[in-house]
C-alpha cells in the first residue's frame, strides 16, 4: 500500500473542498489578478463603487440629458412626447429670462467666492494663533453652519425688512442711511452699468454668513499643516508679516483655497434654499437664479423637457467656471515659477 505523503504544516490552502472545475476557475482568477498592474488592480478594487456610482449618478444624469432632448409636457397631453434634438437648448439661449438668470447666478457665485475668501482667510489666520478664548471664538465662528438654510433665510429676511428690520435700524442709528431701505423689495443696483441688485447683495450676505464656517475650516486645516520651521526660517531671513504671508503662507494654503473655491462654485451655481426663503426669486425676477428658474419651469410651467435642459446647462456652466478657475490657477502658478 502506498503511503500517503505527510500533510504540510500550516493552514490548509483552501478551507473547502471544491470541485476541480470551480477550483480551476479560482486558480485562473488568482493568476490573472497577480498579473495585473497596480493601476488596474486599484480599478478592480474600486469597481463595485464605480458600478454603484454609475447606477445612482450616471444613469440619472444620462436620463436627464436624454429627456432634455425631448418635448415633454405631461400637463398638456396634446403636446406629444417626442425627440426634438437641441431645440430646448436653442430656445433657452434665446430666452431673455434664462440669460438673465444665468447672469444672476454668475454674479451670485463670483461675489460669494470673493467675499468668502476675504472673510475666511483672515478668520482662519486669527483662530490659528494661540490666544485666550481661542476655542470659544472657533466655536462661535462655526455656529452659522449649524443653522438650517430655511431658518437662516427667514431670519435674514426679517433682519432686512424695510419697515422694522434690525439692519435698517442699525445703519440709520450710525448715520450710514437716512431712511429705511426696502432691501429685499428694491430694484436698485449698486452700479448702474452692471447687474448688482441690492436684493441679490442682501441674499449674498446671508449665504456667505451661512457657509463661512466650512471655508474657515478648510483654510484652517491647510494653515495648520504648514510646518512651523518655514516661519522660523522666514523670520531669520528678515521677512516681515506681509512677506511671510505672501511667500510662505499663501502658496501653502492655496490648495485649501482651491477646495473652497471649487466647492463654493459648485454649490453657488445651484443655490436655491436661501434665495427661496428670502425672496423666492423676486422682486419681479431680479434674484431669479438658474436653479429657481429650473424649479419654476418644472413645477409651474410643467415643461420637463425645458427644465431638464436648464439643469444640464447649469451643470455645463458650472464646469466652465471650474475649468476657467483651474486654468487661471495653473497660469498663476506657472508665472510664480
Amino acid at each position: 500500500m502506498r503511503e500517503r505523503p505527510e500533510k504540510p504544516e500550516g493552514p490548509p490552502a483552501f478551507p473547502l473542498r471544491l470541485p476541480k472545475k470551480i477550483g480551476g476557475i479560482f486558480g485562473s482568477f488568482d493568476l490573472w489578478v497577480e498579473n495585473l498592474s497596480e493601476g488596474r488592480f486599484s480599478v478592480l478594487l474600486l469597481s463595485p463603487l464605480i458600478i454603484f456610482l454609475i447606477a445612482i449618478i450616471g444613469i440619472p444624469i444620462a436620463r436627464t440629458i436624454w429627456l432634455s432632448l425631448h418635448q415633454y409636457l405631461p400637463a398638456r397631453p396634446w403636446m406629444e412626447y417626442k425627440f426634438i434634438g437641441l431645440v430646448n437648448y436653442v430656445s433657452l439661449l434665446r430666452d431673455p429670462a434664462f440669460m438673465k438668470s444665468l447672469i444672476h447666478s454668475f454674479y451670485f457665485t463670483v461675489l460669494n467666492i470673493i467675499l468668502m475668501l476675504l472673510l475666511a482667510i483672515p478668520a482662519a489666520l486669527l483662530v490659528s494663533r494661540e490666544f485666550r478664548g481661542r476655542i470659544a471664538v472657533r466655536t462661535i465662528l462655526l455656529l452659522p453652519w449649524a443653522v438650517p438654510i430655511a431658518v437662516a433665510g427667514t431670519t435674514f429676511k426679517f433682519m432686512y425688512n424695510g419697515e422694522y428690520g434690525v439692519i435698517n435700524y442699525l445703519l440709520k442709528s450710525i448715520g450710514i442711511i437716512k431712511e429705511y431701505v426696502p432691501w429685499l423689495m428694491s430694484y436698485d443696483h449698486v452700479f448702474d452699468w452692471m447687474y448688482s441688485s441690492t436684493a441679490m447683495n442682501a441674499i449674498i450676505s446671508a449665504a456667505v454668513w451661512r457657509t463661512l464656517p466650512f471655508s474657515i475650516l478648510m483654510i484652517l486645516a491647510a494653515l495648520e499643516s504648514i510646518p512651523p520651521d518655514y516661519y522660523k526660517m522666514a523670520k531669520v531671513n528678515g521677512a516681515n508679516s506681509w512677506q511671510i504671508f505672501r511667500h510662505v503662507t499663501f502658496p501653502l494654503i492655496l490648495p485649501g483655497i482651491t477646495i473652497v473655491v471649487l466647492w463654493r462654485a459648485i454649490t453657488a451655481m445651484r443655490i436655491y434654499g436661501i434665495i427661496d426663503s428670502m425672496t423666492a426669486g423676486g422682486p419681479g425676477r431680479i434674484t431669479e437664479t438658474l436653479q429657481i428658474l429650473t424649479i419654476r419651469t418644472f413645477f409651474v410651467s410643467r415643461d420637463l423637457g425645458k427644465g431638464t435642459a436648464m439643469a444640464v446647462m447649469t451643470m455645463l456652466f458650472t464646469l466652465v467656471f471650474i475649468i476657467f478657475y483651474l486654468a487661471l490657477l495653473q497660469y498663476v502658478q506657472r508665472k510664480r515659477r
Partner: protein
Amino acid sequence: MGGKKRWICLLLVVFIAFAVTGVLAKPKVTFRPVKGMADENWEKWKTLVRDNLVMMGEDIDVEFLPGHGDVNVLKERQEVATIMMTRQTTPDIICLTVEDYAEYVTAGWLDSEVLMKNMPAEFWKRLFPVHQGIYGAAWGNKFYAVPWRFGIGLLYVRKDLLKKYGYNVTPLQFDDDTSLGNLVEAAKKITGAENVPYGFIGPHDRGSFDGFFYEIVRAFNGYLYGGKEYLYGPVGDRPVTADTPEVAMALKAWQDLVQKEKVMPIEALNWDNNDVLRIFGAEKAVFMRLWNFGITQLGAVTGISPDKWSATPLYSVMTPHGHSSMGGWWWGVNPNSKNKEAAVKVIQAAAEPNSLLFLINAMGALPPYTELFTPEKLKEVSPLLAPYARTIATAVEYGNERPFSPTFGELRVQLLDIVKPMLLGQYDVRKCVEDLQAAMEKLEQEYKQK
C-alpha cells in the same frame, strides 16, 4: 401524498388565503388634503367624516395622508404634480384649488367618469342649488372635482376709526357704492392722525394676489377676470383683454395706492393672507381686503374686538350682486386610483351638512349651500357670521365664474412678475399692460395647440 404534492397543495392554500383576504379586505381610501384649519379642528372633522361613512353604512377605511397647510398651496401643487406625472395610484383623493382645476382637467389628472357615474343627480343639486354654482363648477358639462368652499371678497373696515372721523360705516349690504377716492381720503386722514401706519392692506403673495387686483378692477370701474372662454372675460358683447382702457385705469389706480397716495405699503406686496390678518388684527390698518374666513378667524387668531371692525362685500366682476367665487379645497379622484368608488363614497360622506357646517367655523369656509346661510342657522354655528347672512347667501347665489382657464395657474405667476414691479414704480402701466397681454397671448397660443 408524495412530498412534492404536499408542498404544492400548501402553496395553493396560502395563495387562495391571500387572494380571499385581499378581496374581502376593507377598502382603504387614502386622502391627501390641504388642511386649512387648526390641528384640533382637523382631528374633529376627520372623525365627523368617518362617522358619516358609518352612518351611510359604508365599511371604508380612510387614511388622511399628511399634506401641506393652506398657505403652502404652491408646494402642495408641486407634490400633486409629481404624483400625477409619475402615475402613482395613491392618494385616491387629492385636494386642489380653483386655479388648478382647469389645468388638472386638461392634463387628465382628475377622474370625471367615476364622479358622474357614482354621484346621484340629487347630490349635485343639493350641493349647488343655484344655476351659477353648477355652471361654475362644471367643465364641458361634467364635474371633475367637488368644491367645498365658496369665498367672498370683503373689505374689512375699522368702523371705530371711520366713525370717529365722520365717515359713515359702510353697511353690510352690497347695494352701496363707495368710490376709491373716498376710501383713500379716509385712509390718509386716519393714518395721519392716529397710530395706524397703514391705510390699505391686502395680500399680494403666494396665491392671494389676484383677489385684491380684480376687486380694485371691478369695484372701481375696471374689468379683468371673466368667464370661461376668455382669460379676460367678455363685458357685454366684447371680449376684454389686458390692453383695454379699463384695465390700464385699474392698474394705475392700484399703482397710485402704493406710489402716489402712499396708503398701501410696499411691504404689502410680500404679504400673504396670514400676514394681513395679523396686521389688521393688531389694529395697524384702516382697510383690509381679505376673504370671508377673516370674519371667523380675525378675533380667534388676533384677539381684536368685533366692535372695532366690520366687513363689506366687494363687487364681483360678472354680477352686480356681490362677489364670491369657488375658492380652494376642491376634491378630485386620482384617475390612477384603485379604489375609485370608495373614494367617491368618502367625498359623499364629507358633503353631509354636519361636516360642511363644521367647516364654517373651523375653516372660515362657506360651503356652497345657500340654504345654510340664513341668519338663524348661522347664529347656531357662528354668531360672528350671522350678521352677514344675507350678504353671503346672495353672493353664493351669484357665484362668479372664476376663469377656468388652464393658463390661469401660469399666468398668475407671471402676474406677480409683471404687476409687482409696476406697483413698485419700476415701470409704467403701459409697459405692464403690454407685458400682461404678451404673456397671456403666448400662453393661450400654447394651450390652443390642443
